[in-house]
């Protein structure tokens, strides 16, 4: 089981702040492809890889990063701190 967490407009468009899922994906990209098949909200949110970022176990990661050791994966738009 891995915990997915969504922030900002990703949370709003998917309609929940997170969920626990079973996945056979080994990379972030594979996970995204799996999520896109769930329903149209996911396929729309994740359609453009340039529009969001990912963190694995609370560390920023690339889309080709392994999620084999992941317990928490977060998806969010580019950050707007400061």
């Amino acid at each position: 089981m891995v915990d997915l967490i969504y922030f900002s407009w990703i949370r709003e468009r998917i309609g929940k702040s997170g969920e626990s899922i079973e996945t056979s994906a080994t990379t972030v990209l594979e996970l995204i492809e799996e999520l896109k098949k769930k329903d149209i909200r996911y396929s729309e949110v994740f359609s453009d890889l340039g529009s969001f970022r990912v963190a694995i176990n609370q560390e920023l990661a690339d889309f080709d990063a392994s999620i084999v050791e992941a317990t928490e994966i977060a998806f969010f738009p580019p950050m707007t701190g400061g």
Partner: protein
Amino acid sequence: MRISVQNEFFDFSTEIKNFSATLENIGALVTFTGIVRGQKSQTLDYMVIEHYPGMTEKQIHLIVEEAFKRWKISDALVIHRYGKLDPGEPIMMVATAAEHRIEAFEAAEYLMDYLKSKAPFWKKEVLNGEENWVESASEDETALSRWQ
């Protein structure tokens, strides 16, 4: 080093006073405070800042540690708020102390640049009752290239 991610209002003059009270042998103290715009134009109702509890603190810690590695600074302070903020309220502040001003200025700018696009905060503006997520400016991520 002090890092605070908080909902509560802060008074920057009090924070600077407390920060500087513990410093010794410094010749430069640089501070920056970010304020919610729109207090005069009254176009902005308020701002809401969302963050990633846990990761936010860790990420800011990494950014501040990197500043310590790059510049000879004696201390640094980062305060960043989340939640609902009204126009005119402080959003965040950084302070850096060093023996010389160049180090203090550069470290403060570095902290600002990285907090803008590498700390997990998301701003939402509410204008005339309409909500909009603030889009990141491409120049914010470009700004990081000068430190790489």
